[in-house]
Symmetry: C3
Subunit: 213 residues, 3 copies
C-alpha cells in the first residue's frame, strides 16, 4: 500500500467506526443485546456498499477484508467500555460520521465510474453507499427512517456527487474530483446542521387517513 492508500483506508475505517457507533447507540436505546447491537452497527456501516456492489455485480467489498467486521467489533467494545466517556465525544463522533459519509460517497462514485457506468448512476450509487446504511439501521430497529423526515444527509451526498461531475467536466484529475466531492459533502452537512437547513415536507393528502392505496 502506498501512503496515499493507507491514508484513504484510514479515513474509510474512521467512517466505518462512526457509522457502526451510530447503529450501536440506537440499538442501546432499543434495549438490544450485544449481538443485536453488533448486527445493527455492522449493517449501518456496510449495508449501503453491499447493495451497491450487488447491483454493480462486483465482489462485495467487505468480503475480502476482515477489517470492516473487526472495527465494528472494536466499536461495540468501545461503546460498552467507554460509554460515559463517549457521551462527551458526541461532537467528535459527528465529525467522524461526516468524514465517513464523504469517504463513502467518493468510493461509491468512483467505483461506479470504474465499471463504465454513466455519471447519474455514479451519483446515485454514491448516495446509496452513504445513506442506505442509516435507512437499514432504522428498519432493523423498527423506526421510520430518520433521513426521510429531517437532516440533509442524502442531499449532502447528492451535492457531493454533482460537484464530482463538475470537476470532471472541468477537466480536473481524479484526486481533485474526489477531494472536491468530499469537501462538498462535509461542507453541506456541517452548514445544514449549523443553520438548520431542511428539505420541504410533503403535506398530507386531505382524504388519506393512513395513506390510502
Amino acid at each position: 500500500m502506498t501512503i496515499e492508500q493507507i491514508f484513504l483506508f484510514t479515513l474509510e475505517m474512521i467512517g466505518t467506526v462512526a457509522f457502526a457507533i451510530s447503529g450501536i447507540r440506537m440499538s442501546a436505546a432499543k434495549h438490544f443485546d450485544w449481538f443485536g447491537a453488533y448486527t445493527v452497527g455492522l449493517v449501518t456501516a456496510i449495508g449501503g456498499g453491499t447493495l451497491r456492489d450487488l447491483m454493480l455485480d462486483c465482489p462485495v467489498f467487505w468480503m475480502s477484508n476482515f477489517w470492516y467486521l473487526g472495527v465494528t467489533g472494536l466499536s461495540l467494545v468501545a461503546v460498552i467500555a467507554l460509554k460515559k466517556y463517549l457521551l462527551r465525544l458526541s461532537t467528535t463522533i459527528f465529525i467522524f460520521d461526516t468524514i465517513g459519509l464523504a469517504m463513502f460517497v467518493v468510493i461509491g462514485v468512483q467505483k461506479t465510474l470504474l465499471f463504465g457506468h454513466p455519471m447519474w448512476l455514479a451519483i446515485l450509487m454514491g448516495t446509496i453507499t452513504g445513506a442506505l446504511g442509516g435507512i437499514l439501521r432504522d428498519i432493523l430497529i423498527n423506526d421510520v427512517p430518520l433521513i426521510f423526515r429531517k437532516d440533509v444527509y442524502a442531499t449532502a451526498c447528492i451535492a457531493g456527487g454533482l460537484v464530482y461531475w463538475l470537476m470532471m467536466i472541468a477537466g480536473f484529475n481524479e484526486i481533485v474530483q474526489g477531494s472536491a466531492c468530499a469537501v462538498t459533502v462535509i461542507a453541506v452537512r456541517l452548514l445544514a446542521v449549523h443553520y438548520g437547513w431542511s428539505i420541504p415536507m410533503l403535506r398530507n393528502f386531505p382524504d388519506d387517513n393512513d395513506g390510502g392505496q
Copy 2:
C-alpha cells in the same frame, strides 16, 4: 425502437409513474420530506424488478436507462404541484396502477423465461416484479405490508402468470401469452376490488400473545 416497443415502454412508464405516486402519497401521510418521498416512490416503482434482476444475475434494468429515475422525479413534481387535482384522479391512478402491475408481471415472466428458467419460477418472478415494490414501500414507511392483509394484488399476479402458462401450453405465441397474462391481471384486480374479493385470513393461535417464536 419499433412502434410496438415504444407502446410497451410507454405502458411500463405509466406503471412506473403509478407505482411511484403510490409511494409518494403514502410518504406524504407519514410527513416525509421531498427526499424521503422520492426515495419511497422510487423503491415502490423499481424495487421488485431490482430483486428479480439480482436473483436472475442479470444487469439491473433501471441502471441502463435514466427514464425510471426521471419519471419518478416527475411524479414527485406532479404530486407537489397538482395535489388537489390529483385527488380527483384517484380512479385514473388506480387504472394506471393496474396497467402498470400487468406490465410488470409480463416483463417479470418473460425475462425469467428468457434466461431459461422453468415456468413456476417465472410466475414467482412476475409476482415479485409486481408486488414486492409495495411491500418494500410499506417497510420503508414502517407499516405492516398492506398486501398481507387485504387486496388480491399478488393473487392477480399469480393468476396472470398461470394464464401465461396456459397460453404457452396451448401453443400460442409470445404476444398472445403476454396479452392474455396482462388482461388476466387487470381483470382479476378490477373484479376483486369491485366485488370485494379477499383471501381467507389465518386465525390466530389461541396461545400466542405476540406470535411466540
Copy 3:
C-alpha cells in the same frame, strides 16, 4: 442421489418446514391472509440463504428446485388444517427448528468455503443462512427482530461455525467437521433455552431519548 444426500436433503426440508411454520404462525398473530402468511413463511425459510447466494455471486439455491416453495405451501396447509393439533406439537416444532438451524449453518459454512473464501467469512455466512430469515420475518410483520433482544439463536450459529473451524484445524474430514458443527448448534441452542442463557444487554445512553443521531 446417494443415501447420504437424501438424508441431508431430508434434514434441510425439515428445517425449511420448521422455519416456514415459524413465519406462518407469527403471521397468524398479525391477522395476515393466506398469501401474507405464505410469503412470510417463505422468506423466513429461504431469506438467509438467498442473501448468502447473492453475496457469494452464485445461483440462488431455491431457484433450481421447486421443493422449497412446495414444502412452504404444505406448511401453510398444515397450519390451516391442523392448527389445534400443531399447538400440542410445539416441542416437536422447536426440535425441528433447531435441526433446521444446524443444517442451514453447515450448508452456509460449506458453500462459502467451496467458493474459496476464508473461514471467518464462512462462519458469518453460516450465521446469515441460519439467522437472517427470522430477522426478515420480523421486519415483514413490523416487529423489532426478536433475535436482537433475546435467545442465543445467532450465538449458536457462531459457536457451530467455530467448532467447524476447530475440526478443520484438527485435520478431520468434511463429514466430521459438518457433524460437529451441527451438534454444537443444536447443543448450544437447547442448553441456552433450558438454562435461560442470554447475551448481556446494552444499557441505554442516559442522554438518548429515542436513540439520538
